[in-house]
Amino acid sequence: MPMKIGTNDFKKRVENGINDSFMRGAVAGAQERMGTRRQDAADELGNWEEWRNLGEEIRQHVLDNLDYYLEQLSENIAKRGGHVFFAQTAEEANDYIKDIVKKKNAKKIVKAKSMVTEEISLNSTLEQAGCTVVETDLGEYILQVDDHDPPSHIVVPALHKNKEQIRDVFTQKLGYQKTEKPEELAWHAREMLRKEYLTADIGITGCNFAVAETGSFALVTNEGNADLVTSLPKTQITVMGMERLVPTFEELEVLVSLLTRSAVGQKLTSYITVLTGPREELDVDGPEEFHLVIVDNGRSKILGTEFQPILQCIRCAACINVCPVYRHVGGHSYGSIYSGPVGAVLSPLLGGYDEYKELPYASTLCGACTEVCPVKIPLHQLLHKHRQVIVEKEGKAPISEKLAMKAFGLGAASPMLYKFGSKAAPAAMNPFTAGDKISNGPGPLKAWTEIREFPAPNKERFRDWFENREKGGGES
């Protein structure tokens, strides 16, 4: 599975995450900073809930009319002389792009801003075809230079690295000789990248939103690199997930505003690049040839199901930035380029339950993600739906759990059974009880008591106390 990262199993990945104290410090710090900034940016906008409603409405409308808007977008791009290719699978997308590369006899490719090309493993495909691929977003660039370390966050892909680590990578791989100051590091990357833009044959970008009415697509960046990727090379290829559309510029404005505020707490980002087709006669720059690759790769299977709301996602990462589980395990624990709550919902849908069956359980269903999502995706409910599917349809739940839950269901449905059971509990737990505590419980209590004390069941249940009292028995 291309979007999969690493080979460790879930438990091992979590263990690695928990033991990586540097990563955890970085994540906790980032969550606190971004959380406050996001809140301020939302407050400043005012009527945040109304904006969220609007965001949700726009995204739902697009998904409900996806055929229509995809067709409109394709027509408008074709009208301007661009080529549109609809790729059902990752392979189809890669093959199409490889074909262009061959035709153009391209050697060097510069890239900007794209999760979906990570999802389909475009880089390795192109590298196998003999091309050099250069990532130009600073975070992605760092990861690429560090032997293709996978991203751990959808907005801040190199969040798991600190500046000293980045300096070391640059020193080893790029002959860098300055300090770990972020400005110096960024400047060095810039200098290295500048040459690449000028000598690249093809520019590849992702797409934050495509505007159906005009056949344009918008990129939201903080470094301006997308401007260079889209204006210098002669051929440009944009790869977008099938659902990343808006009807007109009016909706684009709403979603960009929600995106930048939710992602990093900015009113606007430094650069919003909007492009429409290849260069026209009087244009001074821009590509001569433009291709849009629309990637399905499992998305249409989600349409029309109870999981459809996850396709509303605008990849702002606000859910990741508030998630208490992500905070402690980090992005690589999810085993997918899509991490955090959005990843826990999306990865099993795109990559299958076999690979990602643990992710829906890596949540307390605390609802922090749902509360913060700017397009109102009910994330914790979707995680719960996954659990239900795993139990009912996939049959992937452990047998012991199934039996325990059946027993629980019976006990809870039968007051008689419960009454006997709960009455017998103190005696049954007696061997494990010391004082009013159980420190080393049996069966399902084992995992609990490895970490915490468990209370011993009360000798007199509350209901007995109440009954006695009603009968005029002793007050306690």
């Binding site: 438990k11 208490p324 629980f408 269901g409 007051p415 995992a447 609990w448 915490r452 069941p457 306690s476």
Partner: protein, 238 residues
């Protein structure tokens, strides 16, 4: 006013003192308490683990148990949030959907009931000590009760309140998450305990037995001198 108490299974078996405090407090505020014996559990542990079919019978039994109640009140935010989820679970069921709606409409968490229904903001309690308060996720986010416990605690005499840093962060309980994902849960509850210590409070107060069992169990294991109390116990002190 007649109030039907839903004690919850945890309170019934493990935290009888919370049930007692709830009864005494509500009686003091002029309510007459009724406790239907056939009540068991709201079904949360199985439901949240994805066993929806298995737990529906239990939910129906709860709906029937409280069918004639005027108000259902419980000292547990997450169990009441679960009751509010019932109408979605039985959506489309010709018999049970409307019954579930009926239960949801009259179900209240204890502090919510006192502030919103009884319209009482000062229960006349007195509690000496330095306290901090854990806002449970299900109670604040799913049930939407944020202010009521704060208002009531704010009017308790002699009580010295410090806000818990990062209070909106989950304590790592999450029902079966606490054992299924024990490794992660441990990290989360440790962070919570650390924040409680930062307040240098003597008491940690909450309104959900599950969270309190989790945080309290960890505090005990670590041998910290912080006492854990349910908000009903504090409001019932004089």
């Amino acid at each position: 006013m007649k109030v039907t108490l839903f004690a919850t299974c945890l309170v019934d078996m493990f935290q009888g003192n919370v049930g007692k405090a709830t009864v005494e407090l509500l009686e003091r505020l002029g309510c007459e308490i009724d406790f239907p014996e056939s009540q068991v559990c709201c079904g949360q542990p199985a439901y949240n683990s994805g066993y929806v079919k298995e737990v529906k019978a239990a939910m129906k039994s709860m709906i029937d148990t409280f069918a004639d109640a005027e108000y259902v009140v419980s000292p547990s935010g997450s169990c009441i949030a679960m009751f509010h989820e019932y109408p979605h679970i039985f959506k489309g069921d010709p018999v049970w959907e409307s019954k579930a709606k009926n239960l949801a409409a009259k179900s209240y968490e204890l502090t919510q009931f006192i502030v919103d229904v009884l319209k009482i903001e000062d229960v006349g309690a007195r509690f000496k000590g330095k306290v901090t308060y854990h806002t449970s996720c299900h109670m604040t986010r799913l049930l939407g009760v944020k202010k009521a416990p704060m208002i009531l605690l704010g009017n308790v005499k002699d009580l010295e309140f410090t806000e818990l840093p990062s209070k909106e962060q989950c304590c790592g309980f999450g029902g079966t998450f606490s054992v299924k994902m024990a490794q992660i849960s441990e990290q989360m509850v440790d962070e919570k305990v650390m924040h409680v210590e930062e307040t240098s409070a003597d008491y940690l107060i909450g309104a959900d037995a599950g969270c309190l069992m989790n945080i309290g169990g960890r505090i005990d294991r670590k041998g910290k001198p912080i006492k854990v109390l349910h908000i009903a116990e504090v409001l019932n002190s004089r």
